[in-house]
Symmetry: C2
Subunit: 464 residues, 2 copies
């Protein structure tokens, strides 16, 4: 296995292949095959996103993938943001289509003509929907599994509200959804409000969660946009208030993608391989019976598996022939399984098991009657360790810079910034770090590192 | 509501709209929006298909939607079956693509180049994968929600085996998956082996489940194909046996789609609206508190909901203002909810509930302490009723014909058939019924209704 610290990029590619997450040999570049293990982990993330969305009153829908040029053309500045990245369907069967249709790059232009039909009066508001689908971008940059691909597994929520303030409260709900999701994923991250010139095309403002990747680069893993009336005026989405007066709705969106999985892999993994948080691990516990002449360790292992499965713990037993226990330990460590249970002669005779936690050194013994409790504790300790590591990453990889010259290293940087583009442009050109905007999760005020005027803490980093 | 018996087609369209399953006003014809209620029911079907697949060792994957012309071109007769129905992506950004790419109409040509990389020797076999994705057909026929659309929600399993016989055993597994799924869906259906000239392009043979729709037409809802070596020779998918000798793999596929939901809706519904089997009902139990001056029926209803949810029963309470209890009963009957619980003053004071089952006349009382048990019994009775109705449909809608002239009515027909095309062509032209092939689920031998030679029981019907 590659050394993660010295060569993150090659380590990342190797682990995706070795752990069988994704296969990038598909004949269309940047469009990869989701292999069972990677897809299972992504399905777990989707399940969390579904539950959190529904808890917040956002309902699941599914819109068509094709968007006609007419639907798109009305999109003012929004379309310009995607124009160069659209895939176009121009033929159906043997015929040229009457109108070209794009593969969805995101679904504003697919959904909002329907919003205009669905929303009539204030009783129809708030309208809150989400979908989990593939979106398509004709990427010209170098592609990389889960981080930059041409077919992107995507979560998008879209809402409509009576007022700007209602929509702003929705952004607060999105933040709760993000926090709920990250209670499982444990990603070290910073919440930033993007500079105006870098917000989503068509948005009033954009807030992003930027995960801190190894090597000090950041990866945008979630974005929340307040659209105000920008889209509703374009798509004519209006409601009548109680007095019958007509108003445009105020809208928001929230987007996340398979980058979440890329971030989990990149951030938590080590030189042994993957490390998965227990909430998304396809296998939470692996049982390795150690073959024995005098005790039936395989049936003892199977019994343990049944017990744990009854408790809703995702569990498997590795009874493969022709592999040593040591080889199996390495294999499942590489797969990032949080807890391993070893059962040999001694364990059978003493009705106990030996536990190893992926993120904690050493082994522990526990009696069979405390099995479930001990396994739950071990999973919790594993997740706490990831949480602890996550906090440490912020401390180690994000430096506070007092002046522009301090921002040239392999880190992300917090620095006070007045909010003006000239100042951030100078930082960007001198340090090759992008301005991610004012930091909302670690707010603080100070003098701009460039011009000395009053400013806010902002974040600068190389980005994926 | 339309009369289902007199005007099935309008009844079907109306119920999809009223129950908010699907919205067909999306600007691309034949591509519809999945609304929350319809999508929830479909998600339940998908969940069953996932569990059954994994129980049978078939692992979930996800392949890209785009297939290059090169991948497709090698597809011999298979491609010819789809050529006129492909959507083509020809542009990316501002550029013409180097090679046109089709939206997947089905995934043989996407998957099998990867099979050729994945499969090296006999230890790699059997290889069994499935995916649940959208597939695309540029339909020229009249479209109808869930039954004939241009973006189809699709389940497809693909397997590779060492021998023809191993692959044939896989078809047996598919049949078990189908039966498992239909234990929940309760669709009246017949299993037929398609005539050679109507098998899937590229298959050695095709077996289909044909559901019996109202009005006597049939709807193909599941297909299983034995591919033999037809595709493996085209895509060069070979394995080495133990002696190192190279062989082509034998392949199979299994396909199902959103038609399953269309069949459930069309077959089980009545003039009150939808009727959903409990296993896929987004809401299994609705609680309607009847407003009262002297008792807090709303909090009593909420308590019942909590109890049922703790037991894993999907349950909601309808506390909407401004609607009468009667209006709410009709609303939830229209939505096809299997069990309704009414709680008024009397129920609160006697610590009981009144239950109504969607498919059974009358109401029943039960004490609060027997709540869960009574609800489970009511759900089971509801499903048994659907099972009973399903059996009745076969008896009533499929007639046995002794001669060709008997096959001209509004039914499906069993008739003995020698297997020759001239004979089935004559039946088709005289009766406007299609030959669905020899019936495997009700086998019997007799003299061909056309030529009098030895034959097998076969099925003839108008099809969707």
């Amino acid at each position: 296995m590659q050394n993660k610290k010295e060569n993150f990029s090659e380590w990342y590619n190797e682990i995706l292949e070795t752990a069988e997450m994704s296969d990038k040999r598909y004949p269309v570049k940047g469009m990869n095959v989701w292999l069972p293990y990677g897809l299972k982990a992504m399905n777990m993330i989707d399940l969390l996103a579904r539950e959190l969305s529904e808890d917040h009153g956002i309902e699941e829908v599914r819109f068509p993938v094709l968007i006609t040029r007419n639907q798109l053309a009305v999109e003012f500045e929004h379309l310009k943001g995607f124009e160069g990245e659209l895939y176009w369907v121009t033929k159906g069967g043997y015929d040229q289509l009457d109108i070209d249709m794009a593969l969805r790059p995101t679904s504003e232009s697919a959904m909002y003509p329907m919003f205009s039909l669905w929303i009539r009066n204030h009783a129809d508001l708030p309208k809150r929907i989400f979908q989990i689908v593939s979106v398509y971008r004709y990427e010209t940059k170098h592609t990389r599994s889960f981080l930059r691909v041409r077919e992107i597994h995507f979560y998008e929520a879209h809402t409509a509200h009576e007022s700007y303030e209602d929509a702003e409260r929705q952004i607060g709900d999105y933040m709760k959804i993000w926090e709920g999701l990250n209670r499982t994923l444990k990603l070290p991250h910073v919440i930033n409000r993007r500079p105006d010139w870098d917000k989503f095309p068509g948005a009033v403002y954009t807030i992003a969660a930027d995960a801190i990747m190894p090597g000090g680069r950041t990866l945008q893993v979630a974005t929340m946009h307040h659209y105000g009336e920008n889209f509703s005026k374009t798509y004519d989405i209006r409601y009548s208030d109680e007095s019958g007066e007509s108003h445009y709705v105020h809208q928001t969106t929230y987007g996340m993608s398979e980058r979440l999985l890329g971030a989990v892999i990149g951030i938590h993994g080590d030189d042994m391989g993957l490390i998965l948080p227990s909430g998304i691990a396809p296998v939470q516990v692996v049982i390795v019976p150690i073959p024995s002449q005098s005790a039936d360790t395989a049936s003892y292992g199977a019994e343990i598996m049944r017990t744990l499965r009854m408790e809703g713990i995702r569990c498997t037993v590795d009874t493969r022939d022709g592999y040593t226990p040591g080889w199996k330990y390495n294999y499942w460590e590489m797969k990032g399984v949080p807890v391993r249970i070893e059962v040999g002669e001694k364990e059978v005779s003493s009705q106990s098991v030996t536990l190893a936690v992926r993120t904690i050194k050493g082994r522990r013994k526990t009696s069979l009657k405390d099995l479930t409790k001990s396994v739950r504790e071990a999973l919790a300790e594993h997740d706490e360790k990831l949480e602890y590591n996550s906090g440490r990453v912020i401390g180690e990889s994000v430096r506070h810079a007092e002046k522009v010259e301090d921002m040239k290293g392999q880190f992300s940087y917090f620095a006070y910034w007045c909010g003006n583009r000239e100042c951030s442009d100078r930082i960007e050109s001198e340090t090759e770090k992008n301005c991610l905007g004012v930091t909302l999760s670690h707010p603080s005020k100070g003098k701009c590192v460039v011009c000395g005027r009053d400013g806010d803490r902002a974040m600068f980093s190389r980005t994926y």
